[in-house]
Structure formats: structure tokens, C-alpha cells
Symmetry: D2
């Protein structure tokens, strides 16, 4: 995303914040990891994951699976924030580049909608590790999210 295009989005469901939190609360895996919602805005969701030993790979860093999970979840909910009522979100595909070792007291994922659509919504997400207050860019990714009809979000 360049400076050229910094889109602002209008939510189609005025109740998007509540619907998003209700969906998040149903994800058992978020509780297992210890992920918390830091911020919700139309087309933008930030998630935070504090460090704990059960999240590590073999060298003691956050496992790539954990940083990828919060990137995917932040991107998915960024998309969901723009979907109409009565719909839910599924990830169709994504790609991530791991830029630096995932060190820090916590990692923060910033999910952003790049291009909303009726069926497919394209998002990006970036993950930063925070070590002594200084952010390090540890992951950047692109995601395709699908809008599905569902009773439960």
C-alpha cells in the first residue's frame, strides 16, 4: 500500500464492533494463545499476544505459527468489520514473509483491508515485536477473506 491510496471505509453493519467481539469470544484458540483485542475500527483490527513459554519454537522465540495466527485473525476481523449483518468470515488463502526473529514481551498484529468486495476482501497484516518498548517488524502478509452467510457471525 503506498501513499497514493489510504482508503477510509464505511461499515455496512452499524453493530460491527459487538458482532466482531462475539465472534472472537467463540474462538477457543484465541483463549489458548492468550490473544486480546487492542483496537477495532472499520477495516482495521489490532490484536496483542503477550509472551509465554508455551508459544515458543525451538530457539525460544514466538513460534511462526503464533505470529501467523494473530496476523490471519487480525486480517479476518478487519474484513468482517466491513461485512453486512448475518455474515461471517473465512480465510481463503494467505502468504506471509517473516522479517525478523519474533522476539519481545509481546507481539502486535495490525490487520488492514486493502480492497473490500462483496465476496472476496483482500487484506494485509503486519506483526511487530515489542522489546523494551521498541517495535521490530517481524511479519508482513497478504490475505484473501471470503464473506459467508451464517447465523452466528
Amino acid at each position: 500500500m503506498t501513499e497514493r491510496e489510504m482508503p477510509r471505509f464505511e461499515p455496512r453493519d452499524p453493530d460491527y464492533d459487538r458482532r466482531l467481539r462475539a465472534s472472537f469470544a467463540r474462538q477457543g484458540f484465541m483463549e489458548t494463545l492468550g490473544v486480546e483485542i487492542a483496537r477495532i475500527a472499520p477495516g482495521e483490527v489490532d490484536l496483542v499476544l503477550p509472551y509465554k513459554p508455551g508459544l515458543t519454537q525451538q530457539h525460544g522465540y514466538f513460534h511462526a505459527g503464533t505470529t501467523t495466527t494473530i496476523a490471519d485473525t487480525a486480517a479476518g476481523y478487519a474484513a468482517l468489520s466491513l461485512f453486512p449483518a448475518g455474515t461471517g468470515v473465512l480465510t481463503s488463502e494467505f502468504k506471509v514473509n517473516l522479517l525478523n526473529p519474533a522476539e519481545g514481551e509481546r507481539v502486535v498484529a495490525e490487520g488492514r483491508v486493502v480492497k473490500p468486495g462483496r465476496r472476496l476482501t483482500i487484506c494485509r497484516a503486519d506483526v511487530y515485536g515489542e522489546k523494551a518498548g521498541r517495535p521490530v517488524h517481524i511479519l508482513t502478509g497478504l490475505f484473501t477473506m471470503v464473506c459467508i452467510e451464517t447465523l452466528e457471525g
Copy 2:
């Protein structure tokens, strides 16, 4: 990968099986999820993850983060199985397509080396959900793994 090319690989470290299991045992996240090693061969690693409620997304399926994690780990260890002694593996980047809902009593990831290299090794991984004994293809992905020098694998 087509029928044209079904490579067989020679491990450079005869002790690759032990080294791989020692690295796996150091991954706190594997224990948190409940992942087990099902098979190790040169350039090939299969992992199994049984269902439990703490692994789910909002519709009750395995979270994409869990299936992606075992795909990435199976691919990484498939690469490590061909690395020389005194080295370890880091994921540089990957891409996954999610093909079907991740249902089943367990999911199985099959990591395979596509192209070994001194620095970069390209792998693929597929994940299958097993429901009443019948496998369903739920994820396919491509991975770039980096060989790093390390004392601890």
C-alpha cells in the same frame, strides 16, 4: 509436483532423526497444541494433531492457525532432515490455500522437500482432516526454509 519429478534425497547428517526429534521437543508450542511426530524420512515429515476444544475458530473447526502451524512445522522439519549437522531451520516465508473446512477427529500434515539448497530449501505441505477414517484435503502450501548455523539444531 508432477509425476515427472519425484525426488529421493540423501541425508547429509546420518543422525538426522535424533536431531529432528530433539529440536521438536524444544518447541513449547508443539506441546501446547498437542502435535505428535507420525513419520520422519529424508525430506519428508508427517505430523498429527488431534482435535480439542482449545484449537477451534468461531465455527468450531480447527483454527486456520493450527493447521497452518503444523503445515509450517512439517515443512520445516522436512527441510531440516536434509541439512548438515550443526545447523538449524528457520521459515523465511510461506503461502497456504485453505481448501475445505478443517473438520475431523484429527488433522495430518505432510511436509515434503521440493528443492533442497545450501541456503534456501523449498518445501510444500498438505494437511488432511480425518473424519470417520476418510481424509479430506484441507490445506496446501509452499514454503521457503533457511539453513542457519546453530549449536542446538
Copy 3:
């Protein structure tokens, strides 16, 4: 794709071969490159691109843009071969890994459907360089294709 799953597909449009060739003939870029159709089957399309100087990158190999183009086109037409009459194909996204220098008298792309769907069809494609009759694996990729309604295929 592993040995587990080697799907065979039934075309929904019996006229798929003619429709696919008509669409291919409308692509000005295929003529510019010099791409030819080598094989069409349900869910499978092979394309061939002979070497010429106007296709090279700075070291004299086939430009990654040319091998990517035939991979994308082979994957797209593999998907189209399974679409119903009155529809066309658009690429939504893809990812490629470049495995070896793209050398040879010609390069061959093999597009294969991994998972057909009503809206989204997931494909893979592999490109081989042929040098003195011996194939070298130079690209592997994953693609998401979209089925769109169109009068002209």
C-alpha cells in the same frame, strides 16, 4: 498434492476444449510471447514457450515474468476446463517459487486443478525447462481462479 489424492474431474461443459482454445486465441499476449497449447484435459492444461531473445532477463535466461505468465495461464485454463458454459476465468491471486534458472530451448507449464469450486477454484502449476531433452524444475506455484459470467469465455 500427495499420492493420497489424485482427483479425476468431469467437465460440466462438453464443449470445453473448443471454448478454451477460442479464449486462448483472443489473448494478444500469448501471441507476443509465442505460447502454444500442448495438451488439454479436464482440469489439466499444458503450455509450451520456445526460447527467443525478446523473452530474457538480464542474465540471458527466460524472464521470470514469462515463466510466471505461462504458469498462470496454464492454471487458469485448467480451471476454465471445468467451468460451465457461459463463464470465463480470472486470476484472483497466486504465489510462485522460482527453483532453478529458467534455461533451455523451451519451457513447459503444467496447470492442474487441486480443488474445483463454484466460485473459487484452486490450482497449482509447475514449469520445466527443457535443455537437451532433460527437464529441469524451474517454477512451482499455487493459484486461486474465479469463475465469472461472461458471453465470451
Copy 4:
């Protein structure tokens, strides 16, 4: 890339502009397509491709292969602009999302370095179609570039 991190890069080869243009001039495929360099700065390269009939897909738009090619090339040269003298660039892998039909009088690719490295440099690229002076975002992608030793750039 978020607002958090807008890196500025120092070139290691003061002669990077000349070296980059010399490499570009050796790419036969750039001349076949009609690509021109619009801008070079450390870690940033913009390329322009005017419309012509020989670049189209079956519906008359720019072929995804052409927009992908200029995205890859802009990203590769953005990386090369930061490499030391006596080296060249190869694409290891990339992923693109196609956001809108590739319409317009011309398409512009903006390649940007996200994370420079000694061996691997991660870049993004965006392509915009310009129709009656108004840009439309048609492609976003992520790229891994490899620095190789070479006499010729």
C-alpha cells in the same frame, strides 16, 4: 507496511543508478513489453508500461502476466539499488493479489524494499492502472529477492 515503519535506506554502491539502468537495458523482455523506468531512489523503483494490443488477456485488459512482470521487476530493482557493487538480483519467490481489472492507458508499478538483508531482501510492489488520469489499484504483492555475486549486475 504501516505508518509505524517508513524506512529510509542508504545505498552501499554510490553508482547504483547507472548499474541498475545497465541491468535493465540487458533485459530483452522489457523491450518486448515496452517498459520504461520512471523513477529510481534507494530502495524504490517505479516502472511504467503503456497499453498496446499485444499485452492483453482474453477480455482486452492488460494480461496479469504483464502487470506481474513489472511488479516483479520494480521490486527486484528496488532491492538491487541497495546491493553492493559486483552483485546482481534474482527473484526467489513472490505472491500477488489482483485487485481490479488491469485497465487504463498505462500501468505503473511501484517497487519498495520492506526489509533489506545481506542475502535475502523482502520487497512489496503495487501496480496502478491510469485511466483518464485517475489511478486504480490493480495489484499488490510481496517478493523475496536474492543477492548474487556476478560480474555484470
